[in-house]
């Protein structure tokens, strides 16, 4: 029974990791570019919610909405002003620019909010739980977050495969040189993709803010979790990313159950095991 609880907690944690991963995977899918500052953007969203709720006194739900809109706008502009200028065949410029952004964000947050650990209170919601018996209890907040994560991933899947925007994004991903000949503007398409990814990052960051303590330095490890979920699930498969997040989450909670020091290590080892056995991920749709 104890282990069932561990696995259930791992699955719920996996929903959050899948959200981390969805934004990363979306940007890579459309632009072939990995954002090293991805985790730091998640932390920025967490701090924005902190400001909305603690400083401006907004209710958390309204705060999340504002953060999503803000982050999308910043994502669109950031892509058009900065990132589009360094995108090309060479992978070093985007890696370096986002590495620079990562350092800038971490130190700016440190300057603005200090190194203290923070948390956004979510009222009764945070402690309420559904108790099945003595050993299995599911927190309402983690469950709501998991369902929200599944919902967001479902919406992404819908946008990608059922809308004109999704068709444009998929076509750009397949051949970024031909699509402009059909009348699309790559700069705009890329910026839309980043805005969409930033909205997902905003949801992920605000959930992180309500679920756990955070400080300016935790971004890089969130990037690694996101990356691992993408690779475990297989590139180019949105539901695979959810599965990847869940596998990572379960591996981490199992590791933590054995010894508190093994939580993160167990997740990394699960990732390396998948990489050795199935380098293309467990649910890869396409090669390359």
């Amino acid at each position: 029974m104890e282990w069932i609880n561990v696995i259930v907690q791992g699955i719920l944690l996996g929903g959050l990791y899948a959200l981390f991963a969805a934004g990363l995977s979306l940007m890579f899918g459309v632009m072939r570019f990995i954002n090293i500052a991805h985790g730091d953007f998640i932390v920025v969203a967490a701090y924005l919610l902190l400001v909305m709720v603690m400083t401006l006194g907004l209710p958390p739900v309204v705060g999340i909405g504002v953060v999503v809109i803000l982050m999308s706008a910043v994502g669109y502009l950031g892509q058009r002003i900065l990132l589009n200028r360094v995108l090309d065949e060479d992978i070093l410029p985007p890696v370096l620019v986002t590495f620079g952004l990562s350092i800038i964000i971490q130190n700016s947050l440190l300057e603005a909010f200090s190194a203290d650990s923070q948390r956004v209170p979510s009222g009764n919601f945070a402690t309420a739980s559904l108790t099945f018996n003595d050993e299995l209890a599911i927190g309402v907040l983690p469950l709501a977050m998991f369902l929200a994560a599944v919902g967001v991933i479902g919406v992404l899947q819908f946008i990608f495969f059922r809308t004109a925007l999704g068709r444009l994004l998929r076509a750009t991903s397949d051949d970024p040189e031909i699509i402009p000949l059909m009348g699309a503007n790559n700069s705009h398409v890329f910026a839309i993709a980043t805005a969409l990814a930033s909205a997902v990052v905003a949801v992920a960051g605000t959930m992180l803010a309500m679920k756990t303590n955070f400080d300016p330095t935790i971004g890089p490890s969130r990037l690694l979790f996101a990356f691992e979920a993408v690779i475990i699930g297989g590139m180019g498969n949105i539901w695979g990313t959810l599965a990847g997040g869940i596998i990572l989450g379960v591996a981490q909670t199992i590791g933590a159950q054995i010894d508190a020091g093994y939580q993160i290590l167990a997740g990394h080892l699960a990732f390396l095991a998948v990489l050795i056995v199935r380098p293309m991920g467990l649910f890869a749709k396409a090669k390359g």
């Binding site: 990995i34 070093l92 690694l224 020091g261 990394h268 390396l272």
Partner: protein
């Protein structure tokens, strides 16, 4: 037949090259004689700068010539440091011999690591190497004999075994840093002038073209990855001998051993031997000027790296070279 202006240009670049060699000789003599003129604090700063120079040369060899962008070279700085502490503390190996042995041990670890990491390409490889470095950090924290998560100091008796006096120890350490930096530059230079170097520059310029001419790209990349791991670990072992204390956080720090090193190489000029030298000088000058600014200095450094990518991604030395400035370390072959 060369035109008049070409001859003039040729002569001008010859004068520039002689001036460059002169500057290099002055720099070499100044560094070789540093213990004679530098104070204790200056020597420590120079040792640190020379260590960063060696790390930067290694990263530059990896990224600038094989295109393998690693964000996980801190794995080898940390492994070098930890293997050195383990060898020095738990075996009878003399301290100065433990450093190269630690580097070789890290090189052995790099072989299976490369096998796993090479399953990922491009940007995925970059993040994959970072995950692997984190795995080593978390494993290092699991050894109580090496201080676990809180780290451990090198016993005083071991440090005293290097030389009898404090100034003697510092002298030995300084020349170790000097030779590690010098060896990193010369080994990269010699490698690039060899047959392997021809393959490396071909890969840098065009992978498909290099492959079609018979270069075994995977083998070359594998060899360079393992060699740079050894060089990085050698420097790492020295860095933690000088620091006298090692912790998992310091040994496997991504900011210190990857971000700063990458910024140094890219700001100076990727794919050149001179670039990392210029990058290190600039990095330490800036750090010296902005020491009191703390986080603002790091924010400025990040902004500088972004600016280099936006203005001229070849870096300072690359921009000079493109304007006809001669090389100090000649590695390219020309038809006469």
């Amino acid at each position: 037949m060369k035109s008049l202006s070409q001859t003039a240009l040729h002569r001008q670049s010859k004068v520039q090259r002689l001036a460059l060699i002169g500057v290099a000789i002055i720099g070499f003599v100044a560094l070789a004689s540093a213990p004679l003129w530098a104070g204790r604090a200056d020597l420590r700063l120079l040792m640190e700068a020379l260590s960063f120079l060696a790390l930067a040369q290694m990263w530059n060899l990896l990224a600038g010539y094989t295109g393998l962008i690693s964000v996980g070279q801190q794995a080898y700085v940390g492994l070098g440091g930890y293997f050195f502490f383990a060898l020095a503390m738990f075996t009878a190996v003399p301290v100065l011999l433990a450093i190269p042995l630690a580097a070789l041990a890290a090189g052995l670890v790099a072989i299976p690591t490369a096998w796993i990491a090479f399953r990922l390409q491009g940007a995925y490889f970059a993040i994959g190497t970072w995950v692997i470095a984190e795995v080593f950090r978390l494993i290092a924290a699991q050894f109580p004999a090496l201080g676990g998560g809180s780290g451990i100091s090198l016993p005083v008796a071991l440090v005293r075994s290097i030389a009898s006096s404090r100034s003697g120890i510092e002298l030995v350490m300084y020349y170790m840093a000097f030779f590690i930096a010098l060896a990193s530059i010369l080994s990269v230079w010699v490698l690039l002038r060899s047959r392997w170097g021809l393959a490396l520059t071909a890969i840098r310029d065009s992978e498909p073209a290099a492959a079609s001419l018979g270069v075994n790209i995977r083998r070359v990349k594998f060899m360079v990855y393992v060699c740079t791991a050894v060089g990085t670990a050698l420097t790492g072992a020295f860095i933690f001998l000088q620091k006298l204390r090692i912790t998992p956080e310091a040994a496997f720090s991504v900011t210190e051993w990857s971000a700063f090193v990458i910024f140094i190489v890219v700001i100076g000029g990727l794919g050149t031997i001179e670039g990392p030298i210029i990058g290190v000088i600039l990095f330490f000058l800036l750090r010296d000027l902005a020491a009191d600014l703390g986080t603002w200095y790091l924010i400025g450094l990040g902004a500088l790296a972004i600016a280099v990518m936006l203005i001229d991604r070849r870096g300072i030395w690359g921009a000079f070279k493109a304007r006809g400035f001669p090389n100090l370390f000649v590695t390219q072959r020309t038809l006469n």
